[in-house]
Amino acid sequence: MHAAAAPHVHRTGRTDPAVATDRRTVLKVAGAGGLALTFSTALGAPSYAAGNRDRRRAYVLVVDGCRPDEIDSGLMPNLAALRAGGRHFPRAHSLPVMETVPNHVMMMAGVRPDRSGVPANEIYDRALGETRTMDRARDIRTTTVIERLNRRGFRTGTVLSKDYLYGVFGERATHRWEPFPLLPVTDHAPDLFTMEAALGMVEELDPHLVFVNLGDVDRVGHSDLTGGSLQVLRRAALVSTDLQVGRFVSMLRSTGRWQRSIVVVLADHSMDWSRPDRVVSLTAPLEDDLLLAGKVAVAQNGGADLLYWTGPARQRDRAVERMLAVARATPGVLSAHDRARSPRLRLGPNAGDVVAYCRAGWRFSDPTVVANPIPGNHGHPATRAIPFFIGGGHPAAARAVSSTLATTVDVAPTIAEFFGLRGAPRGGWDGVSRI
């Protein structure tokens, strides 16, 4: 995740989620704890009676920022049990840039950022001339599995704890929960409320697919000043989030959904902690370069910096060489890549000209070394390992452990296969079904 409060080289044009109230209906339901829940539902969405009567259910629970070893820490017994009883992919990882928005988009789109249009949390928007968060529904330039299910009469739901996720997925799902209450510093809804919404949506609206983001582990990880060795708050969050997952599983069992459901559990990325003195700021050395000064925009993404050449196109090749050289010469930088000549990154032009990763235990902070004070970061390769398993009582979640590589982009084709959806995005899925 990016540093929420961090200023950037250029003004951040963060936009509000564009939720069009005239195209939705609002349903208020009482949550299990007596909490009033508000869901918006697309007009014209099929009712249970009129819609697809398929009894299968798929739930995708993203434990944002969870490291795979944390499932084995003893602090997450519910997740460990769910993993032990299902299909486990221990060789799983996040995909570049190892950030929240692009990996959630990959989960639902089934294609990499060069096709989805969403390579990072923060980009430099050349049209706007400023950096901004990728939180607009139109940022996703492909059809997600949510929409594919909708077209076939399935009902879908999103319960996303973070405001920008709510924004980027917009009105795609049949039913949406707008994260509330948002905590002022972390800008996310606590897992207790998010899970309350997920339980309410499942029990009241019963979508075929529900996509849930649980943000506590990530948000606490970012801000845990005891990160690194102690991680006290982080561990508390692991326990708390695990309890919420346990509630969800209990609900599925008690309501008879378990036997006809799969529960895909994964993270979007993991987490790495840095000391205050291990900060990389590329803005100053870029400004010190005669060619680059004033002509490079930096979109800081915690463990990754995206550099955009804003000068004359004819100087671009030279500028990229200089940006690479400057980045690689800066302490704490693990690697720097010419994005256009690094096809394996598959990030697309929205990711700029140069992608720089920091080393483990470091973080980027631009434009100044104090701009990103958050110890917990991700986006760099050290944070790519994630948990990935498929629980549930449906035979598709039969117990197995596989050494095949699973990534976030595999979720959409998995959901598509589970529901028997034919076809794939033009050009095919970039991921592979894991059932």
Partner: protein, 579 residues
């Protein structure tokens, strides 16, 4: 590994080694008895009748058969022929000989899938080594050789899974440090009786270079080395390889499963480094053993001739001696086998005070191999990154040990300099900058599931590999784990102390474990072997221990098991061995 024993004789001074006469004589005759079976004598034969009898009973295949380095479609096959009685190993004698080889899917060779001929000669010490290609992945095969009218025993081998296959498990025998003079290779015998091994990992010290009578089972020389002197010449190395390959237990194990081997130091000389060795006296003067590079080239040449290994990626001789290599087992595991002797800088002389242990200009891997190893670990090709690691990588430090124990512990492990400060300079602890570079790479790239499989140190260990040992376990992030197998026969702590098992060593183990919380298991007393089982969920090592190495029929019993679960990079105790 480092071997030191007080009062070591000069190469010619065998008499300075105390040999227990009864043991040596009795066991020696047993060895000779075995040889007599191949070359029997009769009372007062005439020369012509003796020659006729020898010719009639001459065995062409005296050194067994072997296979190694399995790939999905190929495996190295090996044997050695003795076409005439005079064509003894290292003799340089004997005719060119055509050897037929066959590979079948059944032990009765009803379905032969590959066959060919191989011509060998004295120029390669009559060894036969070839790459049998065109095989199917993850398949058991049987192979045999025919020459001079005789047929070899049948060997069994197995190819690796296809690169895109996801095998449910892999199972390896794991061994190291087999000193012929120190005992019987019972560990090999027990491994050979198992029917579940896909391969055997030999992590080095397959043989020892010492002269006959030096470095046995304490003061007992169970079986005397041949040739009798320290091996220095090419013919010496060939004869020593040949002697080891007459051991019936080793022959059985070679015939049972493919081997994947690396050399450590004793395949050349004790404490080898790139420019020499502790047990090498350069020069041509008295006691001189010639130039180091020449000696090492001879050792490597003999290794290439006598071991079922691909040096420089091929089974051909003379095309290079690069030992480090990768072996892929589908998506489940990739094994990177290291050479930590050929390219390393010299061990520091005064470990406790020499800052050179952390000198970035010193290396244990060599720069090219370090780049290669980091690339191996970064590859997204397989889940488990197994590293065949000849010497221990886990950092080991010590609290104060009783002075009387420092020497014996040092003899076994090389871990303790005399003043008790914490360095084993023959292992990665003597090259800390290389370890730091490798661990930083693992951390920076978010690499999980790296398992170092190690020999060398004549003791069993299971350890986490913390990024920051000083903060462990408070900062519990780890680069992976290390599993160390015990020795087949080479001296361990109780052997050197001359005490019964689980007596004096126990206190030492406790001290080491207390001072090194990342080390979860340590057994200073046992000889034996390990079984490594790899599944997508975990890697488990089972330690099996033998009774007395002096007892040819000693049983083997399960001792302990430790596992690392996927994604954790930590070891945990397991209460039972794999079935």
């Amino acid at each position: 590994m480092t071997t030191t024993q007080p009062g070591r004789p000069t190469p010619a001074g065998v008499g300075r080694r105390t040999v227990v006469a009864t043991g040596a004589a009795g066991l020696g005759s047993a060895t000779l008895g075995g040889r007599a079976a191949a070359l029997p004598s009769s009372p007062s034969p005439t020369p012509s009748s003796r020659e006729a009898a020898a010719a009639a009973r001459h065995r062409v295949f005296q050194h067994g058969v072997a296979s190694g380095d399995p790939l999905p479609g190929a495996v190295v096959l090996w044997t050695r022929v003795t076409p005439t009685p005079a064509a003894r190993p290292g003799s340089g004698r004997g005719p060119r000989t055509e050897v037929r080889w066959e590979v079948a899917t059944d032990r009765g060779f009803r379905t032969v899938v590959r066959r060919g001929t191989f011509v060998t000669s004295a120029g390669r010490d009559h060894t036969v080594k070839l790459d049998a290609t065109g095989l199917r992945p993850a398949t058991w095969y049987f192979y045999r050789f025919t020459a001079v009218g005789q047929r070899s025993r049948v060997g069994r081998t197995r190819t690796a899974p296809a690169t895109d296959a996801s095998p449910r498990n892999l199972r390896f025998g794991v061994v190291s440090c087999a000193n012929y003079q120190a005992g019987w290779f019972s560990a090999y015998r027990h491994l050979a009786r198992r029917d579940d091994l896909h391969a055997v990992l030999h992590l080095g010290d397959y043989l020892y270079e010492y002269e006959a009578g030096y470095y046995g089972a304490g003061d007992v020389i169970v079986r005397r080395h041949e040739p009798t002197g320290e091996i220095v010449s090419l013919d010496d190395y060939r004869q020593r390889h040949a002697q080891y390959k007459t051991d019936p237990d080793l022959q059985d194990l070679h015939a049972r499963a493919p081997f994947i081997t690396v050399w450590d130091d004793h395949e050349t000389a004790n404490d080898t480094w790139s420019g020499g060795a502790e047990n090498h006296t350069p020069g041509s003067g008295p006691g001189g053993e010639g130039g180091w590079r020449r000696r090492r080239a001879r050792a490597h040449r003999a290794y290439d001739e006598w071991m079922p290994v691909r040096l420089d990626g091929t089974a051909r001789l003379g095309d290079g001696t690069r030992l480090h290599r990768r072996l892929r087992f589908g998506t489940l595991a990739e094994l990177s086998m290291l050479d930590l002797r050929t390219h390393r800088s010299r061990q520091v002389a005064v470990p406790a005070v020499d800052p050179a242990v952390s000198d970035p200009d010193r290396t244990i891997t060599g720069r090219e191999q370090m780049r290669w190893l980091k690339a191996s670990l970064s590859r997204d090709t397989a889940q488990w990154k197994l590293v065949g690691n000849p010497v221990m990588i886990a950092p080991v430090t010590f609290a104060a040990l009783p002075a009387d124990l420092v020497g014996p512990v040092d003899d076994v492990t090389g871990l303790l300099p005399r003043d008790g400060l914490p360095y084993n300079v023959d292992q990665w602890d003597g090259y800390t900058d290389d370890r730091r570079e490798l661990f930083a790479h693992i951390r920076d790239r978010g690499i999980k599931d790296t398992v170092f499989l190690t020999g060398d140190i004549h003791s069993g260990w299971a350890s986490d590999l913390p990024f920051d040992r000083g903060l462990y376990p408070l900062a519990s992030e780890t680069a992976g784990v290390e599993l160390v197998c015990s020795s087949v026969t080479s001296d361990n702590l109780k052997d050197i102390l001359g005490v019964p098992p689980r007596t004096a060593s126990v206190a030492v183990e406790r001290v080491i474990l207390a001072a090194n919380p990342h080390i979860k298991y340590l057994d200073f007393d046992s000889h034996g072997y390990s079984v490594l089982d790899v599944t997508p969920a975990r890697v488990q090592m089972d330690w099996y221990v033998i009774g007395s190495r002096l007892d040819r029929d000693t049983p083997a019993t399960w001792s302990r098991s430790f596992a690392t679960r996927a994604g954790t990079n930590k070891v945990v105790a397991v209460d039972r061995p794999v079935a």
